[in-house]
Symmetry: C2
Subunit: 513 residues, 2 copies
């Protein structure tokens, strides 16, 4: 049938895995091509390219799906069952291939196609609804997406498994509703009253100097400087611009991130540090794993842990700014010349409960996620009527954050996730912050973390993360990685303790532990 | 087998073509992906991405090859033989698919793979040899490439067909050795003595003001202005930078070109006009053809005709500069403020026989191509020993252009084409110029060409080209297009007449016709 591939078959048993590998390489190539198209669409493609390019991407996605669920890979996966001398990486690749196959194969093609059409349409409907502040216009589409999502999860569910658990499993293995309920309960119990204390604190933090005369050209130079300083390797990556910052990668020698330049200088600055965290993860994946099914970060939550580790635990730490704040003052003498490092670091840590998740500060961030977790759990598990979403959303914001959206654009319509069918994704944002805090607590026991920051020795910190987390890609799951690194299962107490310690100090809250 | 595709089959006879089309769309998607990778490699990809990305591209190319030569497309091609109501476009697509299949299938996979490895290695060897001015280091590789090329052409040759004719056919159908011998003989007979006359002319043209204070940022603005002025549509295209200017496209809504900025301002300026000519061609391909096997320009020569039409016949015409030269003076007041339009237009048309093809002027360009044509014909048809190339090359340059390379870097090693196995490609460069001259002669009979340029009405000229050439893509071959447009078969006399008229006037040569 296939001369290119079949001629290697004769070498017998030990070649079965290599044979499978050739087909998987092709599948990965199809996926990598679509990653490049997505990057290109967001950063460079001309305005009118859309429809024609979408056709190309659709054909590539279909080819991928057919290949992954096809006879050849099926045959070699079966043959590989008998292989005895597989490495850990190979075993993991087989596991991922089987899972991917199962997921793709269990949905009837017709339903999958209809769903894809719905999804490609829904982003437009959502954007329009958000622009018009009109939730009603989006509600029927959202309702359909939820029905499909529940149906598909039903196909995939193990016996007795709850549908929302199936969805959660896509983004973060080992974190079921039960585990997340505990996690978010803890956050609610500890952080909501803590936030009240902060809001009542008499400490006033000025941050008006973060907005003003920050020319884009200079912000760009700062972005390149800070990315490299934090650990981005421009020989293996690219920094570009797009409407919303993101990171993607073709493999571990080509990791790409974007930023956007706003009037407030900390917007791009911390976007870049955040995306650099994602990038460092992908750059650190072992060579033997890159370009395989386990060549990406372990999970959404683990990825977010790395971006938030660099953004918050490192980037919003005063010690981090000690060696480089003078450089910042030099770049923006008009704005920062008379602002001390202490004032600057306070400003970038100011707590300001708001309505928009992506603009929120380190402390309130997980409360935004809490709202989404509670609501999507209700949508999937309790058949919450989508029509009730805007009110419930507003109530929860008022309760947890003390602010109430005036319209759905700054409320339930702010995120694209549900319009893309990404239910179960949001919790990983909060988990990431908690993973990061647990890792930081471990690190601080073993290395002089603050001293390293003060000396600009970020390489040592990166190396700890690379050794414990990055190199393993998706070979091991996030709980295993966390346990192996810190010697302890996931423990959200570290996160709460970290936040209370840091912000208690900043806002002079009595009785912090 | 394939649920996605096979379910449409039942609708019977009239669906056979659509069925084929789905598979061809996938093949095109694979090719388009590789085009995007190539663009990305040349313009953006990080330094160290090379090897991993090459693996992806290799896998996509192999998938394309297997799909094109595979059972499904074979089956539907056969079934389509019986279809009676096919459009001209569909017939052309079937023709291209069959040809592509034949070409891909006739080479044994093992040989093809070995050859691909040789080729991917040879660019490096060639570049190294050129840097070291050491032809010996490249000769054995070149020899091997030639042997493969001859072998492959042998597989593809019709009975009695000469091997170099097979190669020529890849780039320009309908232009055999016989036809090209006539063409190049004419050029040699007419242009070599004419060049001697010019070199002896007492007319002195100054062009020193083309090099100097031309800041890159300003050159970039000029590039964008001139591209748009000539007819590039930035809503359907991108202009970027790369080491060597080129144009590529994903489809007719996404056409991309590059330039490079040098000390001499005319380098980027005319590169951009040249590439815009290529781009206008691809932007003008009909919607029903884009993203199919006939959705590209008709041939290398026809493509080059469009780029050279815009670069030379339009861009080096005084009338073209009449409306926009003041703008140029405004952009570069220090350099051009005191240079009259007449002086500027003379400078950009100065004849300067040199050693490097890509830097040559309009008149001597085809003599550079003549050297290559004669030599590659000898290599393929007369078993010329590659070792003799440097001397023969130098002799021919001395004879035709009056200059002799001092080393192989400025001689036989200057072009990458042979290192890529592209034998038969060079002639299309000269053919393109001749096509362009024939089209211009036709146009000048039907529209007031110079007046349109003076009024900045380039849209009218573009429309003539779109209507006669661009819209048809690769559906019709270049000779047919030329004949349909001009009412006459290819006739190189127009080219000779155009050059003698233009340069005879510029250099005040007596007795020009």
């Amino acid at each position: 049938m296939n001369q290119e591939y079949s001629q290697k078959e004769e070498n017998g048993k030990e070649r079965k895995y290599q044979q499978l590998q050739l087909w998987l390489e092709r599948a990965m190539a199809l996926q990598t091509a679509n990653i490049l198209f997505e990057w290109d669409n967001e950063t460079l493609a001309p305005k009118q390219a859309g429809a024609c390019t979408a056709k190309v991407q659709g054909a590539l996605a279909l080819a991928y799906q057919e290949l992954m669920t096809g006879e050849e890979i099926g045959k070699y996966l079966e043959l590989c069952e008998q292989e005895t001398e597989l490495s850990e990486a190979e075993v993991a690749i087989l596991r991922e291939a089987k899972e991917e196959r199962k997921e793709l194969a269990c949905i009837p093609p017709k339903e999958y196609r209809d769903y894809q059409e719905l999804i490609s349409e829904s982003a437009r409907i959502w954007a329009q609804a958000r622009e018009n502040q009109d939730f009603e216009a989006f509600a029927p589409t959202l309702e359909k997406i939820i029905q499909y999502q529940k149906k598909f999860s039903g196909y995939q569910a193990k016996k007795g498994q709850r549908l929302y658990d199936v969805m959660l499993d896509h983004y973060e293995k080992g974190f079921s509703i039960k585990k997340l309920d505990e996690f978010f309960q803890l956050l609610k119990k500890e952080l909501v009253p803590f936030l009240h204390q902060i809001m009542e604190s008499k400490v006033e933090i000025l941050d008006d100097f973060l907005e003003g005369d920050y020319p884009q050209q200079e912000q760009k130079k700062l972005a390149e400087f800070i990315a490299e300083y934090v650990g981005f390797d421009f020989e293996k990556g690219v920094l570009a611009e797009s409407a919303h910052p993101f990171t993607t990668n073709l493999h571990n020698r080509d990791v790409r991130m974007t930023t956007h330049y706003k009037k407030r200088m900390d917007s791009s600055l911390f976007s870049v540090i955040h995306e650099t965290g994602h990038a460092i993860y992908e750059l650190g994946v072992a060579d033997e794993l890159t370009q395989t099914l386990v060549g990406q970060g372990a999970s959404m939550g683990m990825h977010e842990s790395q971006s938030r580790f660099f953004e918050n635990i490192i980037g919003r730490n005063e010690a981090f700014w000690e060696p480089i704040y003078p450089k910042l003052q030099e770049m923006f003498p008009k704005m920062l010349g008379n602002v001390s490092r202490e004032e600057f670091v306070k400003a970038i840590n100011k707590v300001q409960p708001g309505l928009i998740r992506t603009e929120s500060d380190e402390l309130t961030y997980s409360l935004h996620v809490l709202v989404r977790y509670e609501l999507e759990k209700q949508l999937i598990e309790e058949n919450l009527d989508v029509k009730e979403l805007p009110e419930l959303w507003a109530d929860k914001y008022e309760e947890y954050l003390g602010v109430r959206p005036k319209n759905p654009a700054e409320g339930v319509l702010q995120d694209i996730h549900w319009a893309q069918g990404s239910f179960g994704y949001f919790p990983s944002y909060a988990l990431g912050s908690a993973f990061a805090a647990q890792m930081a607590a471990y690190m601080k026991k073993n290395i002089d973390f603050e001293a390293l920051l003060r000396e600009g020795e970020l390489g040592v910190i990166r190396e700890v993360l690379r050794r414990h987390i990055h190199q393993f890609g998706k070979m091991r799951d996030s709980r295993r990685l966390l346990r192996d690194m810190t010697g302890e299962d996931f423990n959200p107490q570290y996160y709460v303790a970290y936040l209370k310690e840091k912000y208690g100090k900043l806002y002079q809250i009595e009785g912090r532990s």
